[in-house]
Amino acid sequence: MYNDKDAKKIVDIIQSYARKHSLWVVAYGTGCGAIEIPPTMTSRYDAERFGIRGSATPRQADVLLITGYLAVKTLKRVIRTYEQMQAPKFVMGFGSCTINGGMYWDSYNTINALDRYLPVDVFINGCMPRPEAVISGFIKLQQLISEGKAEGAEKYLKNLEWYRENQNKVIPNWNMPDYNW
């Protein structure tokens, strides 16, 4: 017998399997960690075997990789990039700087905790994390996707006011367009 719920379940399984095995990372390096991405993607560590691929524009991407420290000026661009991406989208915090500020914890111009401004699904610890750590972070993200726990985008929409408040606190001149994402 045709059952609507079962059909939905099957579709969900197929979708999460496809999402899991096709993670497109927007090519946007924010800090020094961007230097770890080329070895991750090329012959030595070959992230493409997990379906991880670079994507040229935020419109096509699934994963926003915040590679390292995030200056306030860059945060503004990152938020803009993030809001142009199409849901479901995931954010990965890369390196100590995104967790607690790292070695730039007392800097006047870098944020200390990324998850106050954007919903982070996976943090990768280290300064710098090696390509192995990056790939293990991606595999953790794949696990979360298959368990249905990587719901950063929905969290962001639900708590948008809280995120906006935090963002406006560090970005005084908020002259950005509103995206109907």
């Binding site: 197929i14 979708q15 399997y17 496809a18 999402r19 095995h21 096709s22 497109w24 090519a27 090329t42 012959s43 070959d46 493409e48 075997r49 997990f50 379906g51 670079g54 994507s55 040229a56 524009t57 935020p58 419109r59 096509q60 991407a61 699934d62 991406m85 199409q86 849901a87 479901p88 109907n180 994402w181």
Partner: protein, 304 residues
């Protein structure tokens, strides 16, 4: 009116088969590229995963009507072109709508998708899209000329514009048009390199330079539609060239072997090639392939 059920089945099955074969070829190309670059590479079904994922994304991009219609134009052109090509020779299932003038029709139809995409990408207002579109259309002007010359040479030689009649001519492998009219084949295959948009003719979608060009503002379902269209269109071009030059295929295994071998020409050229600028690629197409195409016509006329 009696309904020909076998051709109905064929009409339903053709796009599905074209999609599956095209997607798997795309995955195989990624795998081969990876192996050449000494990588393990993604699984062969990777493009299928990508397309499913793109279709399952929530998509909210609004730039205007043409932006919605661009990918639709592309897939319309691909599927329509596919329907006018006899996929399997002398098969009751896969004759589709092929008719007497289908070569001329296909010449027009295969351009339609690119033009639709150009309109769609133009409306997004992204400067990268505009650059990509202008490059793509210029390059199309480049490779269309040797392609048309090659087809015209064949049309004059066999006095037909029907693919089915061309297939009927090539009844034995010594009668394949690649052997009967080698100059036309050379011109055609050089144009084919440009048609497949692999390096050195991939300046249109240069990802690091103009952020993937025309589709740079398309994401989610639009991109999924475009990838689907691209997979089908790759299959269309391969089957067309196999039908014209390599004697078609009377069963699927022959078809797969022939199309795959033909596909490897642009792919393997692409892996080892750097990228031409637009004017360089136009210069390339207008020099030797055009010259060979004209030579093919002259030879045919003199012999004829």
């Amino acid at each position: 009116m009696e309904i020909n059920w076998s051709s109905v089945i064929g009409i339903v099955a053709t796009p599905v088969i074209a999609f599956i074969v095209g997607v798997l070829y795309g995955g195989a190309v990624r795998k081969i590229t990876a192996r050449v670059q000494n990588r393990y590479g993604p699984p062969i079904t990777q493009n299928l995963f990508d397309i499913i994922k793109l279709y399952s994304k929530k998509t909210a991009i609004q730039h205007g009507v043409m932006q919605h219609l661009g990918p639709v134009f592309a897939i319309t052109a691909s599927v329509t072109s596919l329907y006018f090509i006899p996929v399997i020779k002398d098969s009751p299932y896969f004759q589709n709508f092929s008719f007497n003038g289908d070569l001329i029709f296909l010449l027009y139809m295969m351009v339609f998708g690119s033009l639709g995409m150009a309109l769609g990408a133009g409306q997004t207002g992204n400067p990268n899209s505009a650059i990509g579109v202008s490059r793509g259309l210029s390059q199309m002007v480049g490779y269309e000329i040797p392609f048309v010359l090659a087809l015209v040479a064949i049309m004059i030689q066999f006095k037909t514009t029907s693919l089915n009649e061309l297939l009927a001519v090539q009844d034995h492998f010594t009668n394949w048009i690649i052997f009967q009219s080698p100059l036309a084949f050379v011109a055609g295959i050089l144009a084919f390199l440009g048609m497949m948009h692999y390096a050195p003719f991939d300046v249109v979608i240069a990802p690091a330079e103009i952020a993937s060009g025309p589709p740079s503002e398309f994401g989610g379902k639009y991109l999924g539609l475009m990838m689907t269209s691209g997979s089908i269109f790759a299959f269309v071009k391969l089957v067309l060239f196999v039908d014209i030059f390599l004697g078609g295929a009377s069963d699927f295994i022959t078809l797969i072997i022939k199309t795959f071998l033909l596909y490897m020409i642009p792919v393997l050229t692409g892996i080892v090639s750097p990228r031409f600028r637009t004017e360089q690629s136009i210069l390339f197409f207008w020099k030797w392939p055009t010259f060979i195409g004209i030579l093919a016509i002259i030879v045919v006329v003199l012999n004829g």
